[in-house]
Structures are given as C-alpha cells and as structure tokens.
C-alpha cells in the first residue's frame, strides 16, 4: 500500500512544498504553545500547585501571552559576541526541525512526501541541531555558554549511537527504511512488544538528545546558568525554547512510528491515535523532568558508553540472529 503524498493532493510540487511548510509551521507553533502550557500544568500538578489559571480557560492562553512578551522584548546583542555565529545559531537550531517534521507519517491516508530512506534522513537531520547549539555556545563568547556547548556536543554524540542502534533493530525486523512502511508493518503487533529493550533505550536516548531533564546538562541552570543560551534574549531565546519543544515532538513521533505502531489503533481515526501516542510519550518525558534530579556530566557519558551502547549492540545482535532464523 502507498499513501497519497502532498504532491498527489495538490498536483504541483511547489504548491505541495508551500502547503507542507504552512501546515508544519502552523502545527509547530500551536503545538509548542500547547506543550508549554501542558508542561506548566503537569509540573504544577506534580508539585501541588495550580499552574496557569488566569488567561483563558484553565490558563490555556497563557503561552500566547508569554509569546507576546518574548516577541516584545528587546533583542540584545552583547558587544563581545562573534556576530555571525551568534545570530545564525537560533536559526540553525530551528531549521532542521522543519525538515524533520515533513518526514513523519502521521496518518494512514497521506504523508508529506514518501521517502524510501526517510529514517536515514531523519537521523541525519536530527544531528544537525547540535551545530546550531555549538555555534550558539562558541559565538556567545561566554565561558558558561562554551561549557554548555561542549557538553552538548559530547552528549549528542554519546546518545546518537544507542539511538541509532536501537532504531536499527526495528529496521532489521521491518527490512525497510521507509517510515510509512515501518508503521504499516506493525498492524496488529506493535514493535514495542517485540523490541522492548530497544524501545526503552530509544526513549532514554531521545530524552538525552532533546536535552531534557534529567539530561539537560548543556543548559543546567544551577551550574551553567543557561548554558549555550545564556547570552540570548527575546525571541532569539524564544527560538531555542521553541526548538526544544519541537524536538520533543519529533523524538516522540519517531518513537511512536518505530515502536508504538504509529496510527494503528481501534475505533478512533488513525491520525488521532498517532497524536494520542505522541502526547502520551511527551507526558512521560515531562514526568521524568519533574521527578529526577540532574545527572552529572561524567555519569551521563559513562551511562551512554558503558551501559546503553553495549546493551543496544547486544540487542541488535540478538535481533539479527532471531530474524535470520525466523
């Protein structure tokens, strides 16, 4: 089975790109605002507080006001920064997100574009964000920022490997790199049942990749103040913030696609199932964040290299043997 692409729907590749961009940007904006609201509500409930209540029903409009505040703030460019890198960084951090979103198959009936090697593209693009973070840290010309950037790079490298290895286990089973087909093959039996180890490793690595607590050491506010975004203000800071929440969406979407059977589910339409699963995973990530203290940097790295990576390799090996036998 093949889905309809935007190209098929609109009949014109340029129109399709325009439509896809509009849909994704619109979705990401609304989504970021809603996730921020959700994060604040979840945090508040876990901490016996109410969270935002003033603006809109249940404080739903709070994020929009915050956004307005961020946009209204003065953009300060400190005099000591490396201007090129400093200004490019927020864009560099945010740009891959757009590309990544277009690869996710959200529904059974359509995709933005049907790539045969979508997974490879996705993993490759997700590594790009670190360039933005590093240029932010380096360009800021601030010791805290630099340390945040250095931490971020080593963290990303360390966690990309178990992430890819656990995704590879799924690929081996599906014998596919096309995300749409990977989901399609999970009908009836989700990969999480067959690959529980890979799923757990994937979720942990994805949390680390998105720099979420307890792996938020690149920005660790109690140690590095703001890490790589210490020197940013206004909407430039907003873009980092925006990118973090968009990255969460991508990580959770990918986990849903690879392990939780994408759009599969009874009764409700597929696209609804997809988003239910994504937001459930996002809730789990928030749960992590508000429960655990932060891991120390060296422990973080040794956890990846000495625990996650070997387990992921062993898992991959077992998967290879079993899939050959079956």
């Amino acid at each position: 089975m093949t889905p309809r692409t935007f190209n098929d729907i609109f009949g014109n590749p340029y129109l399709a790109v325009l439509a896809a961009t509009t849909v994704i940007m619109g979705y990401l904006t609304v989504n970021a605002l809603m996730i921020i609201w959700m994060e604040r509500k979840v945090a508040a409930r876990m901490q016996r507080r109410l969270g935002p209540t003033e603006r809109g029903k249940f404080g739903l409009l709070q994020s929009i006001y915050d956004m307005g505040k961020l946009i209204g703030k003065e953009l300060i460019t400190p005099t000591h920064v490396n201007k090129g890198l400093y200004l490019a960084a927020p864009v560099l951090v945010f740009a891959p997100v757009l590309a990544l979103c277009s690869l996710i198959p959200v529904s059974q009936s359509w995709v933005f574009h049907d790539y045969d090697i979508a997974l490879v593209l996705l993993l490759a693009f997700s590594g790009l964000a670190v360039i933005g973070i590093f240029s932010a840290g380096w360009g800021s010309n601030n010791k805290y920022s630099l340390m945040g950037a250095v931490r971020s790079v080593s963290q990303t490298i360390a966690y990309e490997i178990p992430l890819i290895l656990s995704a590879l286990a799924v690929v081996m089973m599906a014998k596919e790199l096309n995300l749409y087909q990977i989901v399609a093959k999970q009908e009836g039996l989700w990969n999480i049942v067959l690959q529980p180890v890979a799923a757990v490793i994937f979720l942990i690595s994805a949390t680390a990749e998105t720099n979420r607590a307890p792996f938020d050491i690149p920005e660790a506010e109690s140690e590095l103040i703001g890490g790589f975004h210490t020197e940013y203000s206004g909407m430039r800071f907003g873009l980092f913030f925006f990118a973090e929440y968009s990255n969460m969406i991508i990580a959770c979407s990918l986990a849903t696609v690879l392990f939780l059977g994408g759009w599969h589910g009874p009764l409700l339409p597929g696209i609804l199932w997809f988003f239910i699963k994504v937001y459930a995973l996002i809730f789990v990530m928030m749960w992590f964040r508000w429960t655990f203290p932060r891991i120390r940097f060296d422990q973080l790295l040794s956890f990846s290299w000495l625990v996650l990576t070997p387990i992921a390799i062993a898992n991959l090996f077992v998967t290879a043997v079993v899939s050959k036998l079956v």
Partner: protein
C-alpha cells in the same frame, strides 16, 4: 592564593578562570567563587564574600541593647528565631535575669520549628541545585505551615523579633499549639514521602555519595560545626554540650554519620528534623501555665563591665555572641561568631579536584546563608 589573582598566561591555554557568582542561580545569594578550571575539573577555588555586608556589628555599637534586638534575626534570616532568642538569652545571662518556665518552653518550641523550617528550605534548594525542582516546592509547602504558625505568635514570617529580655512578647494561642501538634503528625508522613522521592533516588545518590568529602582533620583546622561536623561522625551539638535555656530537660539524639560526603550531610539534616519534632512534642506535652515575662526587669539593660560569650546551636552550627560591655547601655562591641563563615572557608580545601557540577552540590550541602557570613 596570591597565584589565584594572576591572569592565566598565554602558555597556560588549557585552563581558564571562571567567576561563579555573585549573580549565579546556585551560590545561594551573593557568594562569588573564583574557580580555576581545567575543562570541568577544578584546580583551585577561592570564595569571595562580603557582597551583603550590612555592618551589624557596627550597628550594635551605635544603639543600646534593646535597640539591637531586631538585628540578630536579620543576620541569618533562615533561622532568625534561634538567633533572636539566642541574643535574648545571652543578655539575660549577662544581667542575670530569670525567665519564666512557660516562656522557656515556648522558646524551645519556636526554636525547633524554626530549625525544621530552615532545614526544609535547605533541603529544597539543595535539590534545586542538583536539578530536582519538584522537592523544592514540596518543602516550601511544608515550610509555609511553619511560617504560618510562627507568624501566629510572633507576627512575622521570616525575621522574627519574638523574644524579649526576660521572656516573650506574646503568649501562644491554642491555635498555635494545636497547629503545631497537627504539623508534627503530618510532617512525619511527609518525611517518609521525601525518603521515597529523594533518598532512594539513584541519580540523587550518584550525585551525592562520595562527593565533597571533608577530611576529619578539617574539623579542627577550620572549626567546622553543625550538621557538617556531625556528618563527620562527631556528635557535637551546643544544645547537648553546654545546654542553654532548658534544653537539658529534653530527650533527643544527635544524629551522626561518618562518611562526611554530601549524602551524609543530607541524611544528618533529615534526621535532625525528626529530632526537632521529638523536642517540640515533648515541649508541647510539658508546657506549663504561667506568665511569659519575668516580673522584675531592670529599666536599664546594662550588663556589668566585662566580656561575655554565649553560644547557641543554630540550624547551621555554633552561633556565638561575644559581648563586650563597658557598663553602659550601649554595647562596647558585639562580635557574632557565625557558623557558615567557618564552614565556607573550608571550600578552598574541599573543592579542588572536583567537577564543576560537584561544586554546586558541595556548596549546597554545607548550607551556607550569605547574609550570615557577611553580617
């Protein structure tokens, strides 16, 4: 130390200096640490203090003993009650004033409640330093109840001025007594919850066990007191060693640990909260009726010419007041020996060799209050 001031030379390109503070989220106020780092490892550290120096000792020399009464609780705003009542007790001892029984018991209750609230704030901020935000709010929830109780009797929530020479300003109400008893019951349950949320947490244990070990000889070298000393295995507590007020009438243990790392300092403080509750409950049970102010209070508070030293156990350790009187109503000199000053000065020895992330947990674990250090 002098070498710390030099700017790193060009050949020394692997290392750098980092000014941590005075505006930094986890230096607990306005402490500045000048760190010499190689990557994330600390080569040397020099705490720089004085950013919140308010000249309390100079103020003491320019007002009489009664006018100085509001000051001690501003010195350490987290255990203000202990400081403020401690000052009253110091002057009472100096002029030989007897305090009625009921007042003594209420003082003990308030002191211990204040100690719990101080430890709670420490607990919350310590976890915040380690990146755990949620326990911070739980602690503030509990601390709020104590602040409400103390507000009920003293009229203030943070910088108390509840004691008077010879007693207390207000008698306690039934609301306060019932509320305190209720708090103790509820708080035991909360402590168990903290144990499950924090003490058993593997990340927390990894961040604290074996981190920031203070070698035993540092205790004598630096005059470390309070929970930091007790985490070294020395059961020293002013309340037990030289009981002031009526502390000799209560049964309580002095919790100690031996490893002297961040985790032990944490456990000691948690255990101390339990012991404080024991004292509060005993005091509530034995609280006698009677007046709360001594009958004959001299019109002029003027200790005889001489020097007086009086120590109390604050939430952070040994708080001593060295009072020099020339026989007049105005103190000739009041020197405040504050515990965090000595505890913080160990950092130059403890921090080198640790990681930047550990700095935060070590600083947090010794429980510094900057205004108390700077005075």
């Amino acid at each position: 130390m002098a070498e710390l001031i030099q700017i790193a030379s060009d050949e020394d390109r692997d290392t750098f200096y980092l000014n941590m503070g005075p505006q930094h989220p986890s230096t607990h106020g306005v402490l500045r640490l000048r760190l010499h780092l190689k990557g994330e490892r600390i080569l040397s550290a020099e705490p720089i203090i004085g950013y919140s120096h308010r000249a309390h000792e100079k103020m003491a020399e320019n007002r009489n003993y009664i006018q100085f009464l509001p000051n001690p609780s501003r010195v350490d705003y987290l255990s203000g009650m202990i400081y403020s009542i401690g000052y009253c007790q110091a002057i009472e001892k100096a002029i030989g004033l007897e305090v009625p029984e009921r007042a003594e018991y209420i003082r003990v209750i308030c002191n211990e409640l204040n100690r719990i609230s101080s430890h709670l704030l420490w607990f919350g901020t310590f976890l915040l330093d380690l990146g755990g935000v949620t326990p911070f709010l739980y602690c503030f929830d509990d601390r709020e109840k104590i602040l409400d109780l103390l507000d009920l009797v003293s009229g203030s929530r943070l910088t108390y001025c509840y004691g008077r020479f010879g007693g207390l300003v207000n008698d306690v109400t039934d609301d306060f007594l019932e509320g305190t008893a209720r708090f103790c019951t509820a708080f035991r349950e909360r402590l168990r919850e903290y144990d499950r949320l924090v003490t058993q947490n593997v990340i927390f244990r990894n961040r604290t066990i074996g981190v920031g070990v203070m070698r035993p000889e540092l205790a004598q070298q630096f005059g470390i007191t309070g929970p930091c000393l007790r985490a070294m295995g020395m059961a020293r507590d002013v309340r037990r060693d030289e009981p002031y007020g009526i502390y000799d009438r209560f049964e309580f243990d002095i919790p100690t640990r031996t490893a002297s790392d961040c985790f032990d300092r944490y456990l000691v403080r948690i255990a101390e909260m339990e012991q404080s509750m024991r004292i509060v409950e005993q005091a509530l049970a034995k609280l006698p009726d009677g007046p709360i102010m001594a009958k004959k209070i001299p019109r002029k508070i003027a200790p005889a010419k001489g020097e007086y030293y009086f120590a109390v156990e604050s939430a952070r350790g040994h708080f001593g007041m060295f009072i020099v009187s020339d026989g007049s109503e105005i103190p000739y000199r009041i020197h405040l020996r504050t515990p965090s000053f000595a505890n913080l000065s160990t950092m130059r020895t403890v921090l080198p060799g640790t990681l930047l992330a550990d700095t935060v947990s070590i600083l947090g674990s010794i429980d510094i209050v900057l205004p108390e250090i700077d005075r």
